[in-house]
């Protein structure tokens, strides 16, 4: 039994200044139209929550369902930081796989303030997300920068390598009508942009955006009944958590888990690293579920919160061994027309982040690429696509879709 994607739709990313509901409804209507499914026939609606837009944002499923016109469908709303959209997709998928419904709509949308993401307001000393700003001034880019500097120290990566990621993604984004930034950039422009969190400059770091994305999921049987031949298949959705001890300094933490106790229990291991770092675990679980591996991929969409992080992700999803991502990048392997294009959508570099919509947008891109309808940014002969992301508090996702 399979879950298939029969509709995908987005509201263009930008800084439009409208309520998130408008973006979500626009995306939902586009996805339903794409699927040829009437809203009144949808049996299950899942909303990916936004935590910056008040009560309606916390109950996104109901908010979108009401805005589309109550149709009696069952609903769910969920929040999983950057993986919210993927978790929403997973909820709908499992309900379809369980045979409890045939067709479901998944929607995520966000309306974002200007500048760095701030913690939710008020004095909340019990919230690590509030405390890291209060005690350290540690913004999200600060964490991205720690990873980037670590990469430079471990592998000799350079600022020019990071800039080359932006150049590649901007070139793809220029071809994507849904992207917010649609201008090609040069390495010189990136390297001349202001330093934000050393070694990352403004153009190395993804912006925060408004946007909305939606998919219509269905059972393969429903698709067949509706005359949809060869729909894109969801082969895996991984939403695994880290394994203790997580020895990576994760956003928004003050410290890693300690590896010391585990070494006492297993004295043969002085400092036992988990089998894989968390990001690699996320992808690994998806490969296992799909029965596929990195060599099977036609392209990958990875969460380039920073340019440097795209290089980390390439290794985490198994496109190359640790320390070799720059080689692939510089050889043109990950560009459109290359051996394994990475972020053919233009990635976060071209979109900016609209948190609850982003993982759904990744699946929209998988869908269009695998249908062969991605236009000027089409990956030739795409048969298997992977989308991966990671967010705060142990959240992350990897989705594998196939033709």
């Amino acid at each position: 039994m399979n879950t298939v994607v029969i509709g995908a739709g987005m509201h263009p990313w930008g800084k439009w200044g409208k309520p998130f509901i408008e973006y979500g409804v626009a995306a939902a209507r586009a996805a339903l139209a794409d699927a040829g499914v009437s809203w009144t026939d949808v049996q299950y609606v899942v909303g990916a929550d936004t935590i910056r837009n008040g009560y309606p944002g916390f109950i996104a499923g109901a908010t979108f369902a009401q805005a589309l016109g109550w149709n009696g469908a069952r609903i769910a709303s969920c929040y999983a930081a950057c993986a919210s959209g993927a978790q929403a997709i997973d909820l709908a998928r499992t309900r379809i796989l369980a045979g409890l419904c045939d067709v479901a709509l998944v929607v995520g949308a966000d309306s974002t303030p200007k500048g760095f993401f701030k913690p939710v307001g008020g004095k909340r000393p019990d919230d690590p997300d509030w405390l890291r700003f209060r005690l350290l001034g540690a913004t999200n880019p600060a964490y991205f920068a720690l990873y980037a500097r670590r990469r430079m120290a471990l592998y000799g990566s350079t600022a020019a390598d990071f800039a080359a990621v932006k150049v590649k993604n901007a070139a793809c984004g220029a071809l994507n009508p849904m992207a917010r930034y649609r201008k090609p950039v040069t390495e010189q422009e990136v390297l001349a942009s202001p330093m934000v969190a050393d070694p990352l400059r403004l153009m190395d770091i993804c912006a925060t955006s408004d946007g909305g994305a939606a998919v219509v999921l269905a059972s393969a049987e429903f698709a067949r009944r509706h005359g949809i031949s060869r729909p894109v298949r969801l082969a895996a959705v991984s939403t695994v958590t880290p394994t203790f001890p997580n020895t990576t300094l994760e956003l928004p933490a003050f410290a890693t888990d300690s590896a010391a106790a585990v070494s006492e229990q297993a004295p043969q291991l002085r400092i036992p690293a988990p089998e894989r770092p968390f990001r690699a675990d996320i992808a690994h679980a998806a490969y296992e579920e799909a029965g596929l591996g990195p060599d099977d991929l036609s392209f990958a969409e990875v969460y380039d919160l920073s340019t440097a992080l795209e290089l980390d992700w390439m290794e985490d999803v198994g496109l190359c061994p640790p320390g070799e991502a720059e080689k692939l990048l510089r050889a043109g392997d990950t560009t459109l027309g290359g051996r394994i294009p990475v972020n053919p959508s233009g990635g976060l570099a071209s979109f900016g982040e609209a948190i609850p919509a982003q993982a759904i947008a990744q699946v929209c891109e998988l869908t269009w690429q695998l249908r062969g309808t991605a236009g000027a940014r089409q990956v030739a002969g795409a048969r298997v696509g992977l989308a991966a992301n990671q967010g705060l508090f142990g959240h992350g996702s990897a989705v594998i879709a196939t033709t």
Partner: protein, 134 residues
């Protein structure tokens, strides 16, 4: 002397120390302190003891904030970039993030030794900070 947060670090004659918890059953060290349930999934321990983390470690990575971070951070005026370092405390098997006192990113290297001290936030309260280990 006001600490910006209670129970996370202590200032004494023998220097500034980060305070963590240590599980009485399995020895898992946690920072910030985790009173109560142990975070080790193989351990059902609920008794934690306060423990001081090692004062000195090596830089795992570092960065700075070229623009003033948003509230609730209290930014100095005029603003000078805050330096941050993630320092690996090998014996405790843990990496801890903190502000760095009196060093810019140009003076830091991955692998260099830093040790714990403290310093004030711009609005007064003290917080733990890393400094050159001499």
């Amino acid at each position: 002397m006001t600490l910006a947060i209670d129970g996370w670090f202590t200032i004494g004659d023998d220097g500034t120390h980060l305070l963590g918890t240590r599980c009485a059953d399995c020895g898992t060290v946690s920072f910030p302190p985790q009173w109560g349930f142990c975070r080790n999934p193989h351990c059902s321990g609920e008794t934690q003891e306060e423990t001081r983390l090692p004062r000195q470690g090596t830089v795992w990575s570092y960065t700075n904030a070229c623009y003033a971070p948003p509230p609730p951070f209290a930014a100095a005026e005029p603003y000078t970039p805050v330096t941050l370092a993630a320092v690996e405390l090998a014996e405790a098997g843990i990496i801890v993030l903190g502000q760095v006192k009196d060093l810019t990113v140009d003076e830091l290297r991955v692998g260099m030794e830093l040790r714990l001290t403290h310093g004030p936030l711009a609005d007064g309260p003290l917080v733990w900070m890393w400094e050159a280990a001499q």
